[in-house]
Amino acid sequence: MIRLIEVHKSFGPQKVLDGLNLEIERGKTTVIIGRSGGGKSVLLKHVIGLLKPDSGQVLIDGVDITKLNDRELNEIRKKFGMLFQEAALFDSMTVGENVAFPLREHTKMKEDEIRDTVAERLRVVGLKGVETKMPSELSGGMRKRVGLARAIALRPQIVLFDEPTTGLDPVMTEAVNQLIMDTQRSFDLTCVVISHDVQSIFRIGQKIAMLHEGRIIACGTPDVIETSDNPVIRQFLAGSIEGPIKIM
């Protein structure tokens, strides 16, 4: 289980997280929604210890990771997989080497096992036979799916997805949603997904949390969120310009 308690984070004068509390249940998919620039990526980076809060706690299975040293943090991170918003593929390596990276780093697999695993992971994200291409030769959506393959390569217990379907066509969006749901179910994963796509949110989310002005203002099952009368949530789901979410 992941718990964030009273997390504050500012960049210079800009307050991004302002006493945020969130509980993410084990074995479920939690979707985090909120306006662009609202701090969703920042929140995700706190969960995996890439950013340290100015104050507050981040508990992973009861351990406060803000207090750990590098070596202890690495042990915790081995439980995680993460898809970055811009995929963050290593551009000096081929696609195949990218997906193989976590396998080479943390397993004793033989080369042919690695090759098979990489091919299988790429196949499930709909990218058969692109192993030898360089990331720069791929489209944005393809890069994202390679990032996805890399994130789940080690079959981690917890996977963080930063906008897995943004920039994909509707068919691919559905395929990636299916993939997330399938892997989640078959390996009993804890998934945290950031998404803007209202359809995807309700399709994959078992819990939905709304981030607004540095706090989680609502967290609940899809039905609860869908029927919520909170004006922020109503505006977000309806996509209207009028409302408490200011455009600038």
């Binding site: 890439l50 690495n74 042990e75 991170r77 993460m82 963050a88 593929l89 290593f90 551009d91 976590p102």
Partner: protein
């Protein structure tokens, strides 16, 4: 008075920033040393960097080394001729190359070619979150990115210096003997008489230190890049300037220690 205090304030701040930066570079160096002795050793990464730093710089080093040797012969000839000591041209070129110009010119060329590339590569990896991705996959960026680059530079800059020393002397010979008609026997005899193996060794030790400096600074600047493409550009420029200055300053102190 007020201006004076402002100036002093500015000077103080600049110095503090410089000290701070020197401190962080030292911290990075310590962690590089710690990670470089910890297995597993990634030979493939090191070889790849050695190819980049070494093999692909040979042409550049040959070209610059030759011309430095040639111009030294030319200058030396005009100087020594005034008191009839043309015979010393050969040994001047050889001593100058092995002790000073071989290592320094090579290091400066490699700073421009490879130190800057290290800063740009690591800087790009920083701003595109590839370094974060390494952290997330519980892989240490110092071990993966910086250790191979530094090992490669510390090995390859001395190797290239050997090349530079050699072609410099050949260039000097060509100018001295073929263009300025110094007797070839005299040219060579003075080299073997006056140049000691120690001169070459010390030059190579310098080169190894320069390789360390340029790769450490290049990696440091890249690793700490902030702010998009502009930040990468800044990191690259700063790494070249700082490395060049550090190489020339440390050259003085190394020389004072060695000779």
């Amino acid at each position: 008075m007020k201006n004076f205090i402002t100036a002093l304030d500015l000077l103080g701040k600049t110095m503090m920033r410089g000290m701070e930066e020197a401190g962080s570079i030292a911290v990075l160096f310590v962690s590089v040393v710690a990670w470089s002795v910890r297995p597993p050793f990634r030979l493939k990464d090191i070889v790849k960097q050695m190819e980049f730093v070494g093999v692909r710089s040979i042409f550049l080093v040959v070209l610059t080394g030759t011309f430095i040797g040639m111009v030294m012969a030319l200058q030396g000839y005009h100087g020594f001729r005034m008191f009839g000591a043309e015979s010393l041209v050969g040994s001047t070129v050889a001593l100058g190359m092995t002790r000073e110009l071989g290592p320094v010119i090579t290091a400066l060329m490699i700073t421009g070619r490879c130190g800057s590339a290290m800063a740009a590569e690591l800087g790009t990896m920083r701003v595109t979150e590839q370094i974060d991705a390494l952290y997330v996959m519980a892989a240490n960026p110092v071990k993966h990115l910086i250790v191979p680059r530094m090992i490669a530079a510390i090995i390859m800059v001395p190797m290239l210096t050997v090349v530079s020393d050699f072609v410099g002397i050949v260039g000097g010979y060509f100018v001295g003997v073929h263009l300025l008609h110094i007797n070839s026997g005299v040219f060579m005899a003075n080299i073997t008489k006056l140049v000691d193996l120690n001169d070459i060794y010390n030059g190579l030790v310098k080169a190894a230190v320069f390789g360390l400096i340029l790769s450490l600074i290049g990696c440091y600047k890249g690793f700490n890049t902030k702010g998009g493409a502009e930040g990468v550009g800044r990191a690259t420029t700063e790494s070249v300037v700082l490395s060049s200055v550090a190489i020339l300053v440390s050259d003085y102190f190394l020389t004072a220690l060695m000779f």
